[in-house]
């Protein structure tokens, strides 16, 4: 099994999958597809952690993988889907930058991250590429947050950033102590729930889910 994983460089395939799901977020207009892509991203992240823990034989990493799967892979997507349904807004049609251009820009961002971290100070244990990929996912998540108009797509961009962050932490250190991981996940879960509350309130008081309506406070 271990040989098989190495021979087919499964770890690299999965991490590239994580990068591609993050990039494809820029091409999607239907909000439900965005949530699906995020779910896929989280599942890939969890499976990467599980496979690495199998490779190095660290039992506590299985728990981390299971936690990632339940929170990011199941709970958050279910919650996000409910909000999308409740909003009755199914599409984010007019991003500030059109989809073709933002796909190009995310490609450029990935290249920039690769070049600037190529000779970096980091050597990660299980794959040279994972750190670059994780930083690229963080940057693309940030880019999504900037270019999208809807409150909910901004939340999904933030979640992509956090997935990238977890991947970065994992590639640098093989995961934090479990209690820390639990605390961070708990904060994240509460954060998304509170953001969800505000998404509903924005819709209620601005009668829109577009963030460019939020201009009452200036100076």
């Amino acid at each position: 099994m271990k040989n098989w994983i190495q021979a087919f460089s499964v770890i690299d395939f999965i991490s590239v999958g994580i990068l591609l799901t993050a990039v494809s977020m820029n091409a999607l207009k239907r909000l439900e597809s965005c949530v699906k892509v995020y779910t896929l991203n989280s599942w890939l992240l969890a499976s990467l952690i599980a496979i690495v823990s199998f490779m190095i034989g660290e039992a506590h990493l299985y728990v981390a993988a299971a936690l990632t799967l339940t929170t990011k892979g199941v709970l958050l997507p279910v919650f996000l889907k409910r909000i999308v349904r409740q909003m009755k807004v199914t599409r984010d049609d007019e991003p500030y930058i059109n989809n073709a251009l933002s796909l190009t820009i995310s490609g450029v961002l990935v290249a920039v991250v690769y070049v600037s971290l190529g000779e970096g100070i980091f050597v990660s244990g299980f794959s040279r590429n994972v750190l670059q990929i994780s930083i690229a996912v963080i940057v693309i998540g940030l880019f999504t947050m900037i270019t999208r108009r809807k409150a909910i797509t901004q939340v999904i961009g933030l979640l992509f950033m956090e997935n990238g962050l977890f991947l970065a932490g994992f590639s640098l250190t093989f995961g934090m102590p479990l209690i820390i991981e639990l605390g961070v996940l708990f904060d994240m879960l509460m954060g998304v729930i509170i953001l969800g509350i505000f998404v509903v309130q924005i819709k209620r008081s601005f009668l829109s889910t577009d963030l460019d309506k939020l201009t009452t406070l200036r100076g």
Binding site: M145, M176, I180, G191, F198, I202, T215, T216, L217, G219
Partner: protein
């Protein structure tokens, strides 16, 4: 004992959300903060003499934690007492329902809990979790009134601070990686252990980590140019919460940067962190100066003053040396007292004039003699007028700049302070004097609030002329923690 200390605000929050009677909730709220103060005093004095660890080293208290905890507890105490009156009046006017009141007090005490946790975290990740906790709880408080402006402010606040703090977490991961490299085995996230091994940590890795931490906690601390959430959040939150945000929350986040800078100083020498703090400190002061002059909303004006003063604190820390750090630490307390006082007095103004626009408010001294007079004194204090406490700490920081020969810092500091002085006189002078432009009928001032603000104003004056011995003890202890002497 630390467990009891941390449990008190949580229990108070639960009780506040449980009861359905306004008087009961208010009494629980006051008992909660008084119990907190009573328990924290022996804890703080104990930590001053010797460093203490709790829960297997995850939590700890040294002199710096004790100092920050003392400020948090003090401001929590006055803000909780002030809340009883302020939110009570909002309730009578119908701006807040009973359900809202329960929700408010529950979140208030949870907010205090997260800040206490910040002050005693030894583990960097627990610190991070606590800081993110403060964002989540206080975002709900910023959006408390559920109108367009407050929802917008809360949204900006939570998004900006969460994105910022994501970078801080990356910085913490990198630190963990660096510590694993230094020990050759398992890494550590305990601040005390990291400080001991700091000379073995890779300096360039730690510099990268520090930049990420500075972005992350700097967003939360309100350092320019990542301060944009701050004026919105401060102006939209209920007044006692604005006082908490400005007086203690910003400082809690700033201490995160300081704690990290201590590790970096051991690894890469003190000039790197110091210079960065100096640059962002002066930038914050400069940007705040411009907005203070142009401001037409007094709550936003006070928010920009917070950016200015966090800039001053960062400048003092960046100058370094015992004098600069001492001044900076003293300024943390002084600004907390004066800013809370300003929010409390202008809160009374808002309840009387129903507006937060500066040009809609005239003749406060005539209508509200006590609040008006204290507001004017506190405004003079915040501008750095002697003999108030802010003058003393600003003077110490300036002296540190002069002794260190940082003449650029010295000049910029003086220029900004002078311009801000003019701005403060213009804005607050206009509000305090003149013919009142709302109905003249005297409602009489609230006794409780008057006593509270007069006591705090006395403190503000006393701290300007001398530093009491227990405060001196905390300051010199914290100074030792930071300089490592």
């Amino acid at each position: 004992m630390i467990g009891v200390l941390l449990l008190i605000p949580v229990v108070t929050a639960l009780l506040c959300s449980f009861f359905r009677n306004r008087k009961t909730i208010e009494v629980i709220n006051v008992i909660g903060v008084i119990a907190l103060t009573a328990v924290s005093v022996p804890q703080i004095t104990g930590a001053l003499s010797a460093q203490e660890y709790f829960m297997g080293g995850v939590l700890f208290m040294d002199a710096l934690s004790a100092y920050i905890m003392a400020i948090v507890v003090f401001i929590a105490l006055v803000a909780a007492i002030y809340s009883v009156d302020y939110m009570g009046q909002e309730y009578k006017e119908g701006a807040v329902t009973l359900k809202g009141l329960r929700y408010y007090y529950a979140l208030f005490h949870l907010f205090i809990f997260t800040m206490l946790l910040v002050s005693v975290s030894n583990n960097l990740a627990v610190f991070w979790i606590a800081i993110e906790g403060t964002t989540l709880v206080s975002a709900l408080l910023v959006g408390f009134y559920k109108n367009r402006q407050s929802i917008e402010a809360a949204w900006k606040y939570i998004i900006l601070c969460t994105v910022g703090i994501t970078f801080a977490l990356l910085g913490i991961f990198i630190t963990y990686y660096a510590s694993a490299g230094a020990t050759g085995g398992k890494g550590t996230l305990n601040w005390t252990e990291l400080r001991e091994m700091s000379h073995r940590l890779n300096p360039s890795t730690m510099k990268l980590a520090f930049i990420l931490i500075l972005i992350g906690y700097g967003t939360k601390a309100g350092l320019a140019p990542v301060h944009n959430w701050l004026p919105d959040a401060h102006s939209q939150a209920p007044t006692p919460i604005s006082a908490l945000l400005s007086s203690i929350l910003l400082k809690c986040a700033f201490i995160g940067i300081v704690r990290f800078a201590i590790i970096l100083n051991g690894s890469a020498g003190s000039s790197y962190a110091g210079n960065l703090l100096l640059i962002f400190g002066l930038l914050s002061m400069g940007i705040a100066t411009a907005f203070i002059l142009l401001q037409n909303n007094y709550k936003r004006l006070l928010a920009y003053h917070s950016i200015e003063h966090i800039g001053i604190i960062a400048t003092g820390m960046g100058l370094g040396g015992p004098l600069g750090i001492y001044g900076s630490l003293l300024h943390i307390l002084n600004h907390a007292i004066v800013k809370a006082l300003l929010f409390f007095t202008t809160g009374q103004v808002r309840l009387r004039y129903f507006s937060t626009k500066i040009d809609k408010v005239r003749g406060v001294i005539t209508l509200l003699p006590v609040s008006g007079a204290v507001m004017l004194l506190a405004a003079l204090a915040i501008a750095g007028t002697p003999p108030f406490n802010i003058f003393l700490s600003e003077f110490i920081i300036l002296k540190a700049a002069a002794e260190g020969g940082s003449w650029v810092t010295f000049t910029l500091f003086l220029v900004f302070a002078t311009i801000i002085f003019g701005g403060v006189l213009h804005h607050f002078g206009g509000m305090a004097f003149g013919e009142p432009n709302v109905s003249h009928e005297m409602k009489g001032e609230r006794k409780l609030v008057s006593i509270l603000i007069v006591v705090m104003a006395t403190g503000m004056l006393l701290l300007g002329v001398y530093v009491p011995s227990f405060l001196e003890l905390m300051l010199s202890g914290s100074l030792k923690v930071i300089t490592g002497g």
